[in-house]
């Protein structure tokens, strides 16, 4: 079964190691602005949310691309840019509701997550698993389990 990227902001410590290794893996250099993943931070309240392409089931980027340059990789399920076709019109950047497609400030190419060919480096380096790569069945169950744990915690605190 193809895995999906699962983001859990509650586990994110805001260290940005994912950004560092993403740019190292893809661009062979360290530059958070050339990373496909970005930890969006509200520092004054301590909220950190890793944002990355979710490889939508009905991808807007694919739909708006005038060159059919964004297509799903049948092996990994990732939406991948074919740079032989891409003309850099940035329609995908404009239309992605998650900010999952970006412009590399150095090469000016459109860049997005490609799941590193099936072994996402952000997941590999993230010790708290704020970014995880799971089969949908496992991911669903994990969410439910966490939800129940929280619920039971709240119940225990109730003055019954």
């Amino acid at each position: 079964m193809q895995k999906i990227l699962v983001i859990d902001p509650e586990r994110c410590t805001g260290c940005r190691l994912c950004e560092v290794v993403c740019s190292l893996y893809h661009e062979k250099t360290i530059n958070p602005y050339r990373s496909r993943i970005k930890v969006v931070k509200w520092e004054s309240v301590g909220v950190y949310v890793p944002m990355v392409c979710q490889h939508c089931e009905s991808p807007v980027c694919e739909a708006v691309c005038p060159m059919n340059a964004i297509q799903r990789d049948p092996n990994t399920g990732a939406m991948v840019i074919n740079y032989d076709r891409c003309i850099g019109c940035k329609m995908c950047v404009l239309s992605c509701p998650l900010g999952g497609v970006n412009v590399d400030p150095k090469t000016r190419k459109v860049i997005k997550c490609d799941l590193c060919g099936g072994n996402p480096q952000c997941v590999r380096f993230c010790e708290t698993k704020a970014v995880d790569f799971l089969e949908p069945t496992v991911a669903n169950l994990a969410k439910r389990r966490t939800a129940i744990e929280k619920y039971s915690e709240i119940v225990r605190k109730l003055p019954l």
Binding site: L17, I30, K41, Q121, E127
Partner: protein, 629 residues
């Protein structure tokens, strides 16, 4: 390449900037970060310069491996200390140093004094002088947010001072983010004296590594090792507070200034109490250990606020030291000092000292302005924190730090002041542990555990294991002994000098974890990052060189053996409590002297603590100041 990062000389008086390359030969001698900063300090600040004068320099730097996929977010800040008059050196986590590096700079040398409040805006190779009139008077959190709004960019990272730095409190700190503090030696005061409210950075320049794939894989291995170590796991859960529990159990913390070495009934102060307010943990740049909590505190009296931490030190400063033994008070105190820009350690120490002086009748209501100083009164403590930051009443005296305050309080007060070379001791009690006592007595920035603490000594490891770690012989397993401890201290000095120069966090080397990365791992990392080959011996020599140039700065200011002693109470008052190994212990002066002799001998310093000419020649320091940078 990381090696292409520049050094900028910034004159605030003339509003001039000069940018230079950092020559390879200087990297070879000092690496970067603290190492190069200490070279710059020795070369740019002459003997006798008033720390608050425009002639003093403010040094800001990113170490050689900053920005790489390790816990490599450390910023080093240096200058002549307004608190001690000797080496000023502070090291903070967070995200500032990587941002500075991505903006193109590894080192800033800031001289002069701005005509009006100023902040520096550094972005992609540019350095601009900006008006900071609207930031003056703002706290550290507000300042960072206003800068972001002014530039319309939430990604800007700034290192800033709060009201304490503006008011020239001698132990004001520098803050980036919420709790990352360049805390010790009053670097915030130094910034304030230059009317420099902040340095803001934003960079988009690649940090290029020589062998990116190899570096990434090796970093993966090291990160895994740290995250799965027992220390990594424990501090990832409780932060540095976890050390407090351990230390309190055997009797090595300080209670009510220096009246006890163990707090009984500490249940409400212990780290697990943070759970009630914690909303998760937070990590500095690239760090898998994440040793601090994010917390939201709320009560009707003190309001609702967000902050991060607290650290071991704050459990002392706003807990045991001042007799307020509840986590709540620590969280509030921690928030206050972060916001106002005060060093938590020095602030807590000054307050605890003042309360003891009042208790003993050495100062009275005339000195305190009618304030009744007493233990266990959190409101009094918070009031004093504000009074220090704004230099009001008694706070104005405490704001000058230990030595000037002794002048005001009278000679009798000196005995109760727990300080060395003008800087207060960590809220730990080193009487049962000669190795740690030697560490704080000899540290080059005044009493300081982070210069050379051989914390591994506390584990009572078998001798052969200790000797393997410290690569020497003649060590003993028990920490109660004086034997061989000087060897451990000198080894740690070199290790910490190098890790500070690489820009990696001390918790990722042999500080508390005996198995953490050290020399061999660093040789590989430096090679993968730069292609430069260093041997372990060469790195150790760099550590020694850095420590020696710091000592030379002290010697030039007139310090010697006489300044390498502990506060009197360490010799005279036995510890009243603790486990059998820690109870009834004090430092034997004759044994301490022997340890000091051994320490100087190991260094190649004479028995007065002055580096011998042949030592300086061996380390290539005999021509200093050489003014190469």
């Amino acid at each position: 390449m990381v090696t292409k990062r520049k050094i900028a000389y910034i004159d605030l008086t003339k509003k001039e900037v000069k940018v230079r390359d950092i020559p390879y030969e200087m990297r070879r001698l000092y690496l970067g970060g603290r190492g190069l900063d200490m070279y710059l300090l020795y070369n740019h600040v002459d003997r006798g310069v008033d720390p608050l004068s425009p002639d003093n320099v403010l040094l800001v730097s990113a170490g050689l491996l900053v920005g790489t996929p390790l816990a490599s977010g450390r910023t080093h800040i240096g200058g002549k200390s307004p608190l001690t008059g000797i080496v000023g050196s502070a090291n903070m986590g967070g995200f500032f140093a990587p941002e500075l590096r991505m903006a193109g700079f590894d080192h800033l040398v800031i001289k002069g004094r701005a005509e009006k409040p100023t902040y520096l805006w550094i972005h992609d190779g540019m350095i601009e002088f900006m008006d900071a009139s609207h930031l003056w008077g703002k706290d550290t959190f507000e300042t960072q947010e206003i800068i972001r709004k002014d530039h319309g960019d939430p990604d800007i990272k700034s290192m800033v001072i709060g009201p304490a730095g503006e008011n020239l409190v001698r132990f004001a700190n520098v803050i980036t983010g919420h709790k990352n503090a360049g805390g010790r030696t009053g670097m915030g005061c130094l910034m304030g004296s230059k009317r420099l409210k902040a340095i803001a950075a934003k960079g988009t320049i690649d940090i290029e590594l020589k062998y990116p794939d190899e570096y990434m894989e090796y970093a993966y291995e090291l990160n895994k090792r740290m995250a799965n170590s027992r220390w990594g796991k424990a501090s990832g859960k409780w932060g540095t507070m976890v050390i407090w529990n351990y230390t309190n159990t055997w009797g090595g913390v300080r209670v009510r200034n220096f009246q006890a070495n163990q707090l009984h009934n500490a249940e409400l102060l212990e780290p697990q109490n943070i759970d009630k307010w914690s909303i998760g943990v937070a990590g500095c740049y690239g760090c898998v250990v994440h040793c601090r909590h994010r917390y939201v505190y709320s009560d009707p009296k003190y309001g609702t606020f967000y902050d991060e931490g607290p650290e071991y030190t704050s459990l002392g400063a706003f807990g045991a030291e001042v007799g307020c033994n509840r986590m709540e008070y620590v969280l509030i105190g921690n928030h206050l000092v972060n916001k106002l820009g005060l060093d938590t350690l020095e602030t807590g120490s000054m307050i605890a000292w003042a309360i003891e002086l009042y208790e003993k009748g050495i100062i009275d209501d005339r000195v305190t302005g009618g304030l009744k100083l007493e233990w266990g009164n959190p409101d009094l403590v918070f009031q004093l924190v504000e009074m220090i930051a704004y230099r009001k009443g008694l706070g104005n005296i405490l704001a000058d730090g230990p030595r000037p305050a002794i002048e005001k309080f009278g000679p009798e007060s000196a005995y109760y002041c727990i300080q060395i070379k003008g800087m207060s001791n960590l809220h730990s009690d080193e009487r049962p542990t000669p190795s740690l006592a030697l560490n704080i007595a000899t540290a080059t920035r005044g009493s300081d555990h982070l210069r050379s603490r051989p914390a591994v000594d506390l584990y009572g490891l078998p001798e052969e294991v200790l000797e393997q770690i410290y690569e020497t012989t003649g060590l003993v397993s028990t920490w109660a002994s004086y034997q061989g401890k000087a060897k451990m201290v000198t080894w740690q000095e070199k290790l910490y000098a190098v890790v500070d120069s690489l820009g990696i966090c001390k918790y990722h080397t042999v500080f508390i974890s005996a198995t953490a990365p050290k020399w061999e791992e660093w040789c590989k990392l430096i090679y993968y990052a730069t292609g430069w080959e260093f041997t372990k011996q060469e790195l150790m020599e760099i550590g020694e060189r850095i420590y020696n140039i710091e000592r030379m700065f002290l010697v030039r200011e007139g310090l010697s053996r006489k300044d390498d002693y502990l506060p009197e109470r360490y010799y005279k008052e036995p510890t009243p409590t603790g486990l059998p190994i820690a109870k009834g212990r004090y430092i034997d002066r004759a044994e301490f002297d022997k340890m000091l002799d051994e320490y100087y001998d190991l260094h190649g310093w004479d028995r007065n603590g002055i580096p011998k000419p042949e030592t300086l020649k061996r380390l290539g320091l005999d021509q200093e100041p050489s003014h190469k940078l």
